[in-house]
Structures are given as C-alpha cells and as structure tokens.
C-alpha cells in the first residue's frame, strides 16, 4: 500500500506549488496598471521545503487509510525587486512578468511530464506485462 501512496513522490506537491506560482504571476499581470501595487513571487525552494517537512499531516489510525493530499503552506511569498522605479509606485514590470509566466508554465509542464511517467509506470506495474 505504501508504494501507491508515495507513487507520485515529490511531484504532487511540486505541481501544487507551481500552479500557485502561476496564480501569483497572473495576479501581477492583472495588476500591471494598479497604483502602488507591489509585484510578488513565490520562493519555490522555501515553499516546497516547508511542504515536505511539515508534520501537520493527518494521522492514519488504520493501515487501510489512504494518505491525504497536503495543502501547501502560504509562506514563501516574496516581494519582487524592480529593475526600474515608476511614478505610481507600481513594481510590476510587464516584460519580467511575461518571461516568468512563460518559464513557470514550462516548469509546470515539466512536472506534468514526471507525473505522467509515474502514472504510466504504476499502470505498467499493475498490469504486470
């Protein structure tokens, strides 16, 4: 049973963190013209590290219980340091955000590929051929 619980490894949490990061970058892009808005980003290493070693997971009282999906912690949000200042106090730089969003999307797809591999190996193991 343990095999199936941990079949997806770290990628399950990584996918959550990466989709959260996409959301934060979408917030930055949405607020590109908001006065005094400060662009934020997620420190991927900090969040995933915290998610991996948190001991607030639900306690299984029976060996038949499945492990529950763990929510990622809201920590790891950082304010971005802008390259240039702006008159209205907004620190969103559209080119930076676009580049980051593109990279975050690619990262997300990379994690998806890992997950697809895991799923197909589990399927292969179950089928036994």
């Amino acid at each position: 049973m343990n095999l199936l619980n941990q079949a997806l490894g770290v990628h399950e949490q990584a996918l959550q963190v990466k989709s959260r990061r996409l959301e934060v970058l979408a917030q930055n892009i949405a607020n590109a013209d908001t006065p005094n808005y400060k662009a934020r980003d997620i420190d991927f290493k900090a969040v995933l590290g915290a998610a991996q070693k948190q001991d607030t997971a639900m306690f299984a009282t029976s060996t038949g219980h499945f492990a529950t999906g763990q929510e990622i912690s809201p920590d790891g949000m950082r304010y971005r340091t802008p390259f240039n200042t702006s008159f209205d106090g907004n620190t969103v730089e559209m080119s930076v955000e676009q580049a980051n969003y593109g990279k975050a999307a690619a990262d997300y797809q990379a994690t998806l590929n890992f997950l697809e591999n895991r799923v197909s190996s589990v399927r292969k193991a179950l089928r036994g051929d």
């Binding site: 934060v24 979408a26 949405a30 590109a32 697809e116």
Partner: protein, 141 residues
C-alpha cells in the same frame, strides 16, 4: 486547485481594462465638446485601479482574490481651454466658450496601453487553459 483562480484573476483584469478603454472612447467622443461656463466644460476621465486583496478578509476563497477592480474615476485637472467664439450659441456674455481638456494624443496612447494589457491577460488565460487541459490528460499516460 488554484489553477481555477487564474481565470478569475485574469477576468477581473479584462473587465478593468475594458472599462479603461470605454473611458478613453468617451473622452475621445467628447474631445470637441464645448460649454458655456468653465465648470460645465467636459473634463477627461480616467479610471484608477485597485488590487482586490482587501476582499481576502471578508470573502476568503473567492476566485478573484488578487485581481483588480476600478476604485474610482478621476477627472483630469487641466483647466479647459477658453476660446473666443461669439457666434457660438453657447458663448457667455464676453463671447467665450470653454473647450474640453481632452488631449487626443494622450487618449490614443492610453487606448493602446489598455489594449496591450488586455491582450496580456488573454494570453494568461490561454496558457492556463492549455496547462489545465494537459493536467486532465495525466490519467491517459
């Protein structure tokens, strides 16, 4: 899954940018408006955006937290141009009319900026949609 929130967030931004473009269209339409008194003269209007973070307290989990909304509309404070036009039926006792303070060039630039921001958010939605579809395909691996 927080992927849903991206659609809400980008949606609020599309809404805000559309309002901004509407304001620009209204300003351009009124660029040639004249009035009989200085206070009645048309003044260029511009929306002020505000981030939707405050709602996090009262409406936690709403799909648009972190988005943007129109906080208020502000008038351009540039004084209207006073032009002598005694034949105009709106002219005051001294024969002056007051033209709107709309600057066509500024409005055109504003319209392009709003259109670009709109396109950016459309791209955000497209990318998020593709990622979501791929995530759904994970079981077919």
């Amino acid at each position: 899954m927080s992927m849903d929130n991206i659609f809400g967030i980008a949606g609020t931004a599309l809404n805000a940018q559309l309002t901004r473009m509407n304001a620009t269209a209204s300003n351009l339409a009124n660029a040639g408006t004249v009035a009989g008194t200085e206070s009645e003269a048309f003044r260029s209007k511009r929306p002020v955006f505000k981030a939707l973070v405050d709602e996090q307290m009262t409406n936690a989990g709403a799909p648009y937290v972190g988005g943007v909304k129109i906080d208020r509309m502000v008038d351009d404070t540039t004084p209207p141009r006073r032009v002598s036009d005694p034949k105009n039926p709106l002219a005051d006792a001294q024969g002056y009319v007051y033209q709107s303070n709309v600057s066509e060039v500024t409005e055109m630039v504003e319209m392009m900026a709003a259109a670009r921001s709109y396109q950016n958010n459309v791209e955000v939605i497209n990318t998020a949609r593709q990622l979501m579809m791929r995530t759904l395909d994970i079981t077919k691996a």
